[in-house]
Symmetry: C2
Subunit: 305 residues, 2 copies
Amino acid sequence: MRGETVFKQTFNRTIEFLGDFEIKGVVPSETILTRNLNASRTTVRKVLAELQKRKILGGSSGEWVVARRPRSKDLFPDSETVTTSAQVEKKFMEWMLRGDRKAGDVVNGLELARQFGVSTNAIREYLNRFGRFGLIERRPNSSWIIRGFTKEFALELFEVRELFDTRSAIAFATQSESSPAWKTLRKLEIEHRALLRKISSHYQDFSDLDERFHRLVNNASNNRFIADFYEIISLIFHYHYQWNKVDEKQRNRAAILEHLDYIEALFSRDPKRIELTCKTHLNSARKTLLASISTSAPSTKERKE
Amino acid sequence: MRGETVFKQTFNRTIEFLGDFEIKGVVPSETILTRNLNASRTTVRKVLAELQKRKILGGSSGEWVVARRPRSKDLFPDSETVTTSAQVEKKFMEWMLRGDRKAGDVVNGLELARQFGVSTNAIREYLNRFGRFGLIERRPNSSWIIRGFTKEFALELFEVRELFDTRSAIAFATQSESSPAWKTLRKLEIEHRALLRKISSHYQDFSDLDERFHRLVNNASNNRFIADFYEIISLIFHYHYQWNKVDEKQRNRAAILEHLDYIEALFSRDPKRIELTCKTHLNSARKTLLASISTSAPSTKERKE
DNA sequence: AACTTGTTTTTTAAGGTCAAAAAAATGAGA
DNA sequence: TCTCATTTTTTTGACCTTAAAAAACAAGTT
């Protein structure tokens, strides 16, 4: 059966939303809530009913009024608001990137299902979607096998990334002066400088900034395949950097400086300069990733062709 | 329940395989059959049992002997040997590319399942895999929606293709002289010339040749993401060209000539020339594809952001 | 006249179970 | 070490239940 995660998520979001309201403040209409909370009216109504039951909302139907300030106790715990698929992703990425997976090993769907506490269906669906990330490979009528988070993987990933990023960067520079992207870029530049100042304590904030910056540049290409590919990059980096803490502060500081060069180049609109700064940045990113990949020997169970 | 398509496929393949044997010829061991037929031993044994039942094989177990020549009547009909997933692909592509799908329309999994005569699971699995082709888009907790086989799609597809193909072509040219790819290329060149001679009657053979040629070049890049992307190209072209018969002979003739130029450039190993011939070819391919896309107006049901 | 909301009904996707087919492992004998 | 018989696991694919979305509609509001 379907879980109630959507309802619980929406419920929590509603409580956050109501946090800004005064006691006896009138709650907006269902339609407006639906839009703001990004859920269907059915779900919103269920949430409202629950809020009334808990005496957070009062007033007769037709006009809801905040009866008491919601407390953090009212929130559903995080553990109940993650969908199965999100759980699977997290657990699978951990299993894949942190576990000592060797090229040629088989992925046992049934075992994963048991291990993760989800149905085989959930695993199957995830594997199908994850397939395009290039870390596993399907053998028809048989299991998936692991290609591994290897040096080759990183090199191939960066080969394509370089092609796409340089292209996007040039496209970015040729946008019209009035494009809102320029403003966003300026904001990001300021954020970069701000982070640089408090780098020693906040260096962990970089990964988010990094993602936003590259996504902005990539969007300029306006190409779904390039955008799609960036999903792969994001996922890999998101999980991998979570666990790679070696020299993190140092690395992030260097990356910020590279970004600033890159941003300046974008503002200059000089293609040569853009290409240069972009490549410089990607080169050190590649180096970092490669350095973190343990050069483990291939499994004894070699893949049969 | 699972169908018996693998068994039936293997059965047919076994019969073909036995076609070369004499009456009373001894059949190879199960292990060897398993290797040759590309199936598991379990399936092979099931096939052998069936063959005995039909008196095609005789002799007591331990050593099978051909008892009678298998007849084509013994084969399972093709309709019973296609897996569900293959059926879904074919039907879906037809539905997607031939049907009058508008951007913004929703994909109704349930209805497709009914229409195609398969389970909803099969559809869901296919959609998940098909998602990366960029023709449909997922909305969480809701249906997939159609992005459409539009002009933009073709342009974005070719933008990436151009990046990848030129890169692969250069990589191809820098392969060592001893690489077997050169021999394959020479063979393909000969095939191209042969086809050119009998173009008026055999022009339909081009699509296969086209695919093999481009795949060869792309493989030189040795990059899983580039290879993966070529799967998209292949699928689109495979289905789309099946139905686009306008000026086919003419188009194919022109394409062969372009290929020959391209091949010659590859042999010359001159990067400039390679890039030029490659781009020329891609430009006309793009033109052809664009021309075949009906410039249909977007659906009235506009997609809500 | 567009926008609410209460109510009800219909559809659809998420996510689970289960049976059978196919694959893989095990064992025993030559 | 290669064979085949038997047993165990795993994948495939169909089915089923329920949460969520969506749609429909009357009645009330701005």
